[in-house]
């Protein structure tokens, strides 16, 4: 699909170096969040990295396969939206592929006894333990508030913890970074163990 010449001129003026960094970071961020949500380190199928996703998004836009319309919004948010869609698709296709690879004719002994619930418990407990050992009490407060059914919005947390939304956002950034590091550190052990159960 040919790209409109006016759009192409607009794209020529883009600082792709800067946009590339922002877009790749967005893809990495989205993938990491899905990792936390699902507990699955093999989130992206076919070994794709965040850089691959960013490149794919840009290629689609440059080729006109995805049409950016400047009058409807700026380029970066549009690209991030395409990246979100790609990451979700890759995550889902990974799940689907896992099932598709099973041969219905074969009498499998059954799926590994993955107790997802126990894995969740362990993850939360590990995170709490880690934060306690580091005396990151302000981050523990966030988890406590969420556990006590506080709405999962920075505003609600700020009200519950009697602090500013900016402070909550800062805490969430730190908490997320800590949680991701914990997941990444734990990944080899999980893989060695074969299951999360």
């Amino acid at each position: 699909m040919a790209i409109d010449s006016k759009i192409r001129r607009r794209l020529q003026r883009v600082d792709w170096r800067a946009i590339g960094v922002r877009l790749t970071a967005h893809a990495a961020w989205r993938a990491a969040n899905l990792h936390w949500r699902r507990g699955d380190p093999l989130l992206l199928a076919a070994g794709k990295t965040a850089e691959d996703i960013a490149m794919e998004v840009i290629e689609k836009v440059l080729a006109g396969e995805r049409r950016w319309e400047p009058e409807r919004g700026e380029l970066l948010p549009y690209l991030c939206g395409v990246a979100d869609s790609l990451v979700s698709h890759l995550a889902d296709s990974h799940d689907n592929r896992t099932y598709a690879e099973l041969d219905p004719e074969v009498d499998y002994p059954g799926p590994p006894q993955v107790d997802a619930g126990a894995s969740d418990t362990r993850r939360i407990n590990d995170l709490r333990r880690l934060l306690r050992s580091e005396r990151q009490t302000d981050l523990l407060e966030v988890i406590d508030a969420v556990t006590l059914h506080c709405d999962p919005t920075p505003k609600a947390l700020a009200d519950a913890l009697r602090t500013s939304t900016a402070d909550i956002n800062n805490r969430l950034k730190r908490l997320r970074r800590r949680a991701m590091r914990m997941l990444n550190d734990a990944a080899p052990a999980d893989e060695a163990g074969g299951t999360h159960g």
């Binding site: 883009v14 170096r17 922002r22 790749t24 967005h26 850089e51 908490l175």
Partner: protein, 583 residues
């Protein structure tokens, strides 16, 4: 599984999902956040950017050139109006944060090495003092040389064939042999393994962080004569010609032209090429030399960033452009009798985009600076007390007072020379950077990249530690104490380490009104000259501010580009321009 246990498990799933929902609401919101995310993922942001730009270029779409500093002539900005609360956020956080910083002060600094920072003359150890006289640096059972158990990095250990016994090191650098092939003779890495070497060269709060592993520095030697050539010959000859031409007023620290017995309307070169350390006005004279160096380029503009950090890494980024014009190198601006004007304008984040400030400094000894702040959403200009420079910028561990090294009027502080010695100074380049002439009066400078640990994969140390683009060199310094005259100013006293020859501030140690030390800042600069030396400037390269109480820090500066303009239009520094910035 029992029902109660199952319920507990599903509860954990709910918490995980809720946290995931929260994480989904905090995407990397700016370039800094993006770089941090990539670094956390193990990717080098610079390499990622290059790779994508190259790929797009290969695809037939030429990437745009790198961003250049905002220029009033070339890049007019259009500012949209923002909600009132968001636009006023910058001012609000300023007021809040300084109280936080002062309320949560750290413990009193230890008496010996911090004496330089506390500024009591009898306790000031010369920074090049015999290490035998530095008990707190020597008493510790520190690792010695190669193979120390807690040496942070084997590769750097290898580079450090340093004889760690400091007893007979005078000066310490002569004993450094430099075992690595990538370090020149005499260069080495100062870190936790050989921190004692720094005992004679670093102020105590900084040395403490070297010892703990927070900081490590590459230390190089420079040729002092070559370093002095950063200022053009004309500047040095003007300085020599100034010998005996100026004095300072004892009570106000005002500069006096001895020929006219009035405040000078022209100044080029250091007004006091020779400093007598016994002169009670020496501190004031040193401050004036410092200001003369600031004014070297007359007008300059940079687009710079301010990055905030805590122990976990980067927290937020501000971007702004800053434009300064000094009149003294030519002639004081009449009829308003101004010696200096400046404008600053916040670009990012978007909620404070367009918040701007204007400074006008009257060329006398007693008038306070006139400062106005403009908030686009309210379309109001407000006059601000100059003491507000002692407020942190946007709740970050850095102060308006830090911009340029010392932002206030010289006469607004009382100055006292309290010591001299040698310190490690952060240097971007030991020779002036070249300038590219782009008009009759304008010269562009492409500053080298400065990178900190948080954005450098496989680096280590505190996130705010500058690890690329600068090196430490030993420099002779005056140690000067400054006390603000305005009781509204939040600083009680500030101890400056100022180059004895180049008159640049390298370190600053700030105490609050109760006398407690709570903050330090490190300053680096780059000098630049055109090919014939007829145009020259010294521009702040970066400032690293560290709040010792909260263990937060900020890096300011690292301009994407700068230019020097000897003929900025005067109209760029008026209230009318200030309000027009957001139109």
């Amino acid at each position: 599984m029992a029902d109660s246990q199952r319920g507990h498990v599903s509860e954990d799933r709910r918490v995980i999902e809720a946290l995931a929902d929260l994480f989904d609401q905090i995407p990397p919101e700016n370039a800094l956040g993006a770089e941090q995310e990539l670094t956390d993922t193990g990717l080098d942001p610079a390499r990622v950017g290059e790779r994508i730009a190259r790929a797009v270029h290969d695809d037939g779409v030429d990437p745009a050139p790198r961003a250049t500093p905002t220029s009033p002539r070339t890049v007019p900005r259009s500012f949209s109006r923002r909600p009132w609360l968001a636009a006023a956020a910058l001012a609000a956080v300023l007021l809040f944060a300084v109280r936080t910083a002062i309320d949560q002060r750290s413990e009193e600094p230890p008496p010996r090495r911090m004496a330089a920072a506390t500024g009591q003359r009898p306790e000031i150890p010369p920074v090049s003092a015999d290490p035998q006289q530095l008990p707190d640096a020597r008493e510790a059972d520190a690792p010695r040389g190669l193979g120390a158990a807690d040496a942070p990095d084997a590769a750097r250990d290898e580079a450090n064939s340093v004889v760690a016994d400091v007893d007979d090191m005078n000066p310490p650098f002569t004993r450094v042999t430099g075992g690595a092939t990538d370090l020149p003779e005499g260069s080495f890495v100062l870190d936790a393994a050989n921190w004692k070497i720094g005992a004679a060269l670093l102020p105590e709060p900084v040395l403490r962080r070297v010892r703990s592993g927070d900081y490590w520095y590459r230390v190089d030697q420079i040729d002092g004569d070559e370093f002095r050539e950063n200022y053009p010959k004309s500047f040095w000859s003007d300085a020599r010609a100034n010998e005996g031409r100026f004095a300072v007023d004892d009570s106000t620290c005002g500069l006096i032209d001895l020929e006219t017995e009035a405040v000078p309307v022209h100044l080029s070169g250091f007004p006091f090429p020779t400093i007598d350390a016994e002169d009670p006005t020496a501190g004031c004279r040193i401050a004036w030399n410092m200001r003369a160096a600031d004014a070297l380029g007359r007008g300059q503009e940079s687009t710079l960033s301010i990055d905030g950090f805590d122990r976990e890494g980067a927290t937020k980024r501000l971007q702004l452009w800053s434009r300064d014009l000094h009149f003294l190198p030519d002639r004081v601006d009449e009829p308003e009798n101004l010696r200096y004007v400046a404008t600053r304008n916040v670009i990012e984040p978007t909620d404070v985009d367009g918040v701007a400030g204007l400074v006008q400094r009257i060329n006398d000894a007693t008038s306070p600076d006139k400062i106005w702040t403009y908030v686009p959403s309210t379309r109001r200009v407000r006059r601000t007390n100059p003491a507000a420079r002692s407020e942190p910028i946007a709740d970050l561990a850095i102060f308006i007072e830090d911009l340029g090294g010392f932002a206030s009027k010289i006469e607004s502080f009382e100055w006292q020379l309290i010591g001299e010695g040698e310190t490690l100074a952060p240097i971007v380049a030991n020779k002036p950077l070249s300038m590219a002439q782009v008009s009759d009066t304008r010269f562009e400078i492409a500053p080298p990249a400065i990178r900190a640990a948080y954005e450098t994969p496989d680096s280590h140390g505190a996130p705010w530690l500058v690890v690329q683009g600068a090196t430490m060199v030993p420099r002779p310094v005056w140690i000067v104490e400054g006390r603000p005259r305005d009781p509204e100013h939040k600083f009680g006293k500030v101890v400056f380490y100022i180059d004895r020859e180049m008159y640049r501030i390298y370190w600053k140690f700030v105490h609050d009104r109760s006398g407690r030390y709570f903050y330090n800042a490190m300053f680096s600069y780059y000098w630049s000259q055109n090919t014939d030396g007829s145009q020259a400037a010294v521009i702040p390269a970066f400032i690293v501010g560290v709040d010792e109480a909260t263990n937060r820090a900020a890096i300011a500066g690292r301009p994407a580009g700068s230019f020097v303009d000897s003929a900025f239009q005067r109209e760029l520094f008026t209230l009318r321009t200030l309000t027009a910035l957001s139109d």
